[in-house]
């Protein structure tokens, strides 16, 4: 009896107590992560089948009702549409600007560090501060706003940027906030990618008569940046999906949030945590969004052939 017990303990501890040491190092992190990611997710799935107003321990089981009313709610489906439109604006714009900046900065012979710092500096700003400058100063829609002042110099009309829905000028405000804030971050990623392109490729191309400029970019630089490009696009889409800060700060005011430009998280925020605190409905929404993220991520990974080894 004594012997089996000791050997069981010994087996649990592993050779030289390795198992024990593994859990001493990894345990606190793993337990915390499980507690604050897996447990809430599981709880959320549970809540999504209940009528849970203002409570986290509901008793009224409603089956799939929350899911059905979520999917039947035109505000929810239109929030998904808002995400699609936002992605179509922000992903290509950020990708092109970040890559362009990286290419230009990379080939500078002096002041490279200066330009890199300037373009990267907006990443130090929060979305709240950026939204504040955009909403109250650049695009405030009155005469002393910067955009309207500049338009005025050229004889343009005054525009109420954030409240004009035809044409939807508010997209210009929303997209430029994120573009300004993020472009430098992705430029750094592209600069790191450019550093890893072997110089021999360019030498060989020059020997083969490829002209510097478009030809070299098209046939050498762009293909060599493939891994970075995939990472950048994945990050951009995932971040666009999580967009909340700039939408909330630009558009909500004392009267609440306008009925347009409402991305999924803003919708979820008002549903789950606004008046009534419908946590069952909010949880169903979180589950649906989690599934969409999973599907989109896997589809993108397939599309880009992630995991396929680079040649």
């Amino acid at each position: 009896m004594q012997r089996t017990q000791r050997s069981l303990t010994a087996r649990l501890l592993g050779p030289q107590n390795r198992n024990l040491w593994f859990w001493v190092f990894v345990g606190p992190f793993a337990i915390g992560l499980a507690l604050f990611t897996y447990v809430p997710l599981a709880w959320s799935v549970y809540l999504s089948f209940f009528d849970a107003h203002n409570t986290v321990s509901p008793t009224h089981f409603v089956g799939l009702d929350n899911y059905l009313s979520m999917l039947g709610d035109s505000a929810f489906t239109s929030s998904l549409w808002t995400f699609v439109v936002f992605t179509l604006f922000i992903v290509p714009a950020t990708y092109a600007l970040a890559l362009g900046l990286a290419l230009a900065v990379n080939r500078l012979r002096f002041a490279q560090a200066f330009f890199r710092s300037v373009f990267f500096l907006p990443a130090a700003c929060s979305y709240v501060v950026a939204a504040l400058v955009w909403k109250l100063s650049i695009f405030n829609g009155v005469r002393f706003g910067l955009a309207n002042t500049v338009l005025g110099w050229f004889g343009g009309d005054q525009t109420a940027w954030l409240s004009t829905t035809h044409p939807p000028w508010y997209w210009l405000v929303i997209v430029t906030v994120r573009l300004w804030l993020q472009a430098g971050f992705y430029m750094i990623l592209f600069l790191a990618g450019l550093q890893r392109v072997p110089i021999q490729l360019y030498e060989a191309a020059a020997v083969d008569g490829a002209r510097a400029g478009w030809q070299t970019f098209r046939h050498i630089t762009f293909p060599a940046l493939r891994a970075t490009s995939v990472a950048v696009v994945l990050l951009l889409v995932i971040n666009a999906f999580q967009a909340f800060d700039e939408f909330y700060n630009l558009l909500s005011d004392s009267r609440g949030y306008p009925p347009y430009a409402r991305p999924p998280l803003v919708y979820l925020y008002y549903t789950a945590l606004g008046q009534g605190q419908n946590l069952g409905l909010g949880s169903a929404g979180a589950v649906i969004l989690a599934l969409i993220v999973a599907v989109v991520t896997v589809a993108q990974a397939r599309w880009f052939g992630l995991g396929r080894k680079e040649a």
Partner: protein, 287 residues
Amino acid sequence: MKSAQGPRGNEDALVRAGRALRLVLLIALAALFLIPFYLLLRNGLATEQDITSADWTFFPSELKWSNLRELFDDPAVPMAHALLNSTLIAVATTLGTLLLASLAGYGLARIPYRFANTVFYAILGTLMVPAAVTFVPTFVLVSSLGWVSSLRGLIVPTLFSAFACFVFRQYFLGFPKELEDAAHIDGLGHWRTYWRIVVPNSRPVFAAVGTIVFIGAWNAFLWPLVIGQDKDAWTVQVALSTFLTSQTVNIHELFVAAAVSIVPLLLVFVLLQRYIVAGVERSGIDD
């Protein structure tokens, strides 16, 4: 560069013209990128009349440094308290994340264990679940712990960063094993080897992850908005946002508050930029 077929001299002139054009374009873009910072200062140090004047002035008629005192003296705007909260949260989050994630990353990389890979993939899997999707469920958990409007509720749930753990694991996989072997021969166990040999020789990666986490924690908005419901638990971002969306404060006061809120980060950026760049490079490359 289209007509590069021409004689040699022409081509050189074209290349030089292209280079000059690129430089001009870069300078124009750099100026454009700096405009928001300029506006923060301009409006933060101007009088209300200057800001709302119909004629645009590039510089306010006088620099009103007293706006700063006005901000901190205004009892309706708890800016000093919000700055204190943000500092406490950002420092605690950074230190806690570094400690937890580096230990876990080291264990995963260096201590042989049968289920190490399973544990690693369970951690990696949470990267697939955006934090924003879990905010409702995590709010449910945190509120049932009674942590709403407390610093605990603002800090503890954000301490377990799978991204930081991943970066540390990749780094420690490449750490020179000879150093650890020498320590083991000298009779040091895993724990003391880690603290005496590994950590002192890994300062750059700690600085890189630390700066990224600090910036993220200082600028975080959704979670502090959800959890910091009482005025006493407001972070700088929540305070700014509340006055921005309700518009109950003078414009110049709001701008000077925003300018003050980015000072700590600008300092971090200027002093630690090479670590931030290293951190960003590690964050995007998942090979």
